[in-house]
């Protein structure tokens, strides 16, 4: 009898509390919605956003009827401008890199990061802060990289990551901001093995890194050619090539740039390995950002284009000051912030591109520093030349 009344009472209490909680939620939620609706018209912020949008789209004195439509689109895009704001408040840029790949991003003995990807991180920091030291590098494995970006642990991922549709689409929630390095997948074998074509690998074991497009391409190509093989899949660069060096696998596969940089940087006997004359796939490597922050997306994209354009116009870190003062080319003037307000349109200062070139350099300087002939990780420029020189690097106009 008494137990019953108590349990009944307990249930009542729980119900009451639940109702109270739900009620509370409902009442707090309810005013929020009208409030946000009511906020829209008067606030200054949104108006500013609208202005920038109009300017970049270059619809001078757009019809007033069109304005609200644009406003709604921008206001709805989640996180517009959030990343830049967060980076500026934090005072540094967090850049996800590989960290184990000589020539691309590699930890120097003194604890600093060097490499092609690392330099693009610095270029981005230069554009935002005018200071290349304001980068915090996060070393990520292939399987960590996307989650790190999705969760906001890093601001940008510059980690020799291949641009593919499924990664670019809503499935991963990422956007690729362009291509910094055009690559293709290759296969490395010991020079004395006598393996020269894909068919020679019949029945062999191939070392590959986990969670890469390489892993998928390998499966595709082998299935297409009807070649049986066993993949040996490892989690990081060192484990993959460590196992290859021990002879665990007949071959190792990855982007050609990676194979060449690894062969020269990580293997004990670099001369005894060759990259087979087979290209398995297209591998455009470039920085990725989160979906939903178009401003940040644009900044990363245009920092890359800055390095292309400056090479095209012959602006380099050594002559940038001189060019800034004396140039008569209006395109260069706009690039260096002498004319126009290109930086402001991106939410940066007008000397953003000047800083990138002055502090990091143009594309050819970055390339020469990390992958050029004088470096141990030399890779011929090939496709990664300006369109004028037979490559595919092409920057849209700075206008």
């Amino acid at each position: 009898m008494t137990r019953k009344t108590y349990s009944l009472f307990a249930i009542l209490v729980i119900l009451a509390l639940l109702v109270a909680a739900c009620g509370g939620r409902a009442t707090t939620a309810a005013p929020q919605e009208p409030a946000s609706g009511a906020e829209a018209p008067p606030v200054v912020e949104t108006v500013e956003v609208v202005k920038t949008v109009i300017v970049t789209v270059e619809v001078p004195a757009a019809a007033p009827a069109a304005t609200p439509q644009v406003k709604i689109q921008v206001a709805e895009a989640p996180g517009f401008g959030e990343t830049l704001k967060a980076v500026q408040e934090r005072g540094n840029l967090i850049c996800g890199v590989n960290g184990q790949l000589p020539g691309f991003s590699y930890l120097n003995p003194d604890g600093s990061y060097a490499g092609f990807d690392a330099d693009f991180c610095r270029a981005l920091a230069a554009a935002i802060f005018g200071d290349v030291s304001k980068v915090e590098f996060r070393q990520l494995t292939t399987s960590e990289r996307f989650t790190a970006l999705q969760t906001g642990e890093i601001d940008v991922l510059i980690r020799n990551t291949t641009w593919t549709l499924s990664r670019d689409s809503a499935e991963l929630g990422l956007n690729f901001a362009g291509t910094t390095f055009y690559d293709g997948q290759g296969i490395m074998v010991p020079a004395d093995s006598g393996l020269a074509t894909l068919k020679d690998l019949e029945g062999g074991t191939i070392c590959v890194q986990k969670g890469t497009t390489t892993e998928l391409n390998l499966a595709d190509v082998m299935a297409t050619n009807g070649i049986n093989y066993t993949p040996a899949v490892f989690d990081d660069v060192n484990a993959t090539y460590g196992a290859y060096a021990e002879g665990r696998c007949d071959a190792a596969t990855s982007d050609k740039s990676q194979l060449s940089s690894v062969a020269k940087g990580l293997l004990p006997d670099p001369d005894k390995h060759v990259i087979m004359d087979v290209t398995l796939s297209k591998e455009p490597l470039g920085p990725a950002v989160r979906q939903g922050d178009d401003q940040w997306f644009d900044i990363v994209k245009w920092v890359i284009f800055t390095t292309f354009a400056s090479e095209e116009y012959g602006v380099s870190s050594t002559n940038v000051d001189e060019q800034r003062g004396s140039t008569t080319n209006p395109e260069v003037k706009r690039l260096l912030g002498v004319e126009g307000e290109m930086g402001l349109k991106l939410g940066l200062t007008n000397d953003w591109a000047y800083n990138v070139i002055k502090l990091v350099g143009n594309y050819s300087e970055i390339y020469a520093r990390n992958l050029g002939e004088d470096t141990p990780t030399f890779i011929p420029r090939g496709l990664n030349s300006l369109y004028k020189d037979g490559g595919v690097l092409y920057s849209p106009p700075f206008r």
Partner: protein, 395 residues
């Protein structure tokens, strides 16, 4: 009438001073806070996912996986689904855990008993083994086995041949293996019949032993009968049900027999040896937990050394050993996820690949956790059932 009085007494007590009410309200508040935190975290995650335009759901498991897996018990290729790939990983975990548990138990028993040996050398060696292994991290041991032993073996062309045509190379260990022939399904049926017969005879022997008091060892007889059925069946069939397949070098690889990859071997050795040290200690404590008087009593009743062990010590030691043994088995299974460091495609390794190729972090991690939880719960359920069977029945 009498009942209503204490009722009235209670109701006269102010509610907030009633201890039982306070306890109850404490629990309710705790539950609500917990539910609130979980709700908040879930909503937060969902809102963030929505913001990035990502949904939540397990539909992606039906998509084509697109990657190959080096070792699979069930058939698998790149055109199959993520779910199939997950299943391959799960079965690899089950395989390595099952074998690992078996070898760890055998080794653990040997070293546990050796630890109590009266022979000074054996006892010291067993102790050194246990102490050494218990005090190094498993990951270090796994990497040692992998990079220090199995891939340091000679290359394929110089493979070491052990007696019995076992080939050791840095591509793995190749052992002779049977290839089933046409008569194999029939042979399986013969084995089944033999097993049924063996169990029936074992049960009747137990029953006979209870009645007459003279017990032949039922397990031994059952085993002999099963063995006889197996041998006779093999001889009787017109064609041998299994053909012996010997491994040999063929082109780039060792072909034939059963190929055990270095990753698998390293993981199995690492897990079995590491866990065996803990099991050895469980065995030792179990045996030591049996009161000395029990052994003395058994001896004074005229039981031989073996009989004392079989009839008195082990049944009582098992009772103490089962719960800690269960947790060692669970540890072994869960520790198999460390294989990710050496590249054996078990559950966690394959899930990592799926996660990365599909981008579904939340779903995959949930799935992995649920799967490990399920394996652990099943193992505990079995061990608890066994524990109830061997428990000292109090009368």
């Amino acid at each position: 009438m009498e009942k209503s009085r204490p009722d009235r007494l209670r109701s006269s007590l102010a509610l907030w001073r009633d201890e039982r009410f306070l306890r109850l309200i404490g629990q309710v508040v705790f539950l609500l806070i917990l539910a609130g935190i979980i709700t908040y975290l879930t909503r937060n995650m969902l809102a963030n996912l929505r913001q990035q335009g990502m949904g939540l759901g397990f539909d992606f498991l039906r998509l084509t996986a697109g990657f190959d897996i080096g070792e699979h018990i069930i058939s698998y290729d790149r055109s199959q689904s993520f779910l199939r790939a997950f299943l391959v990983g799960f079965l690899n975990t089950a395989l390595v855990s099952g074998l690992g548990i078996f070898f760890a138990t055998v080794l653990g028993l040997i070293f546990g008993v050796a630890r109590l040996s009266s022979n000074f050398l054996i006892q010291r060696l067993a102790r050194a083994y246990i102490e050494f292994l218990r005090n190094i991290p498993l990951l270090v041991l796994l990497i040692f086995w992998y990079t220090g032993v199995f891939i340091k073996l000679p290359r394929v062309k110089e493979a070491i041949a052990l007696p019995g045509q076992v080939l050791l190379s840095n591509r793995g260990v190749a052992i002779p293996w049977g290839i089933p022939t046409e008569t194999f399904p029939l042979y399986i049926r013969i084995l089944g019949l033999g097993a049924i017969l063996a169990v029936a005879i074992g049960i009747s022997l137990v029953w006979y032993g209870r009645r007459s008091g003279r017990a032949p060892i039922p397990v031994l007889w059952s085993f002999l009968i099963f063995l006889a059925a197996a041998i006779l069946g093999w001889m009787a069939l017109p064609m041998s049900p299994l053909l012996l397949d010997l491994p040999a070098l063929q082109g780039l690889r060792l072909a034939g027999g059963k190929q055990l990859s270095p990753e698998f071997m390293a993981l199995l050795s690492g897990l079995a040896i590491y866990t065996s040290a803990f099991i050895a200690d469980v065995v030792r404590t179990g045996i030591q937990a049996v009161a000395r008087g029990q052994v003395e009593a058994a001896k004074s009743m005229g039981l031989s050394g073996i009989q004392t062990l079989r009839l008195v010590v082990i049944p009582q030691a098992l009772r103490v050993m089962i719960p800690p043994l269960t947790s060692q088995y669970l540890n072994l299974t869960k520790n198999s996820s460390l294989a990710v460091a050496i590249g054996y495609p078990e559950l966690f390794h394959v899930s990592g690949t799926i996660l990365n190729q599909s981008g579904r972090a939340v779903e995959m991690i949930t799935l992995v956790m649920a799967t490990y939880l399920m394996i652990s719960l099943l193992t505990s359920a079995f061990m608890n059932w066994y524990n109830r069977r061997v428990r000292l029945v109090e009368r």
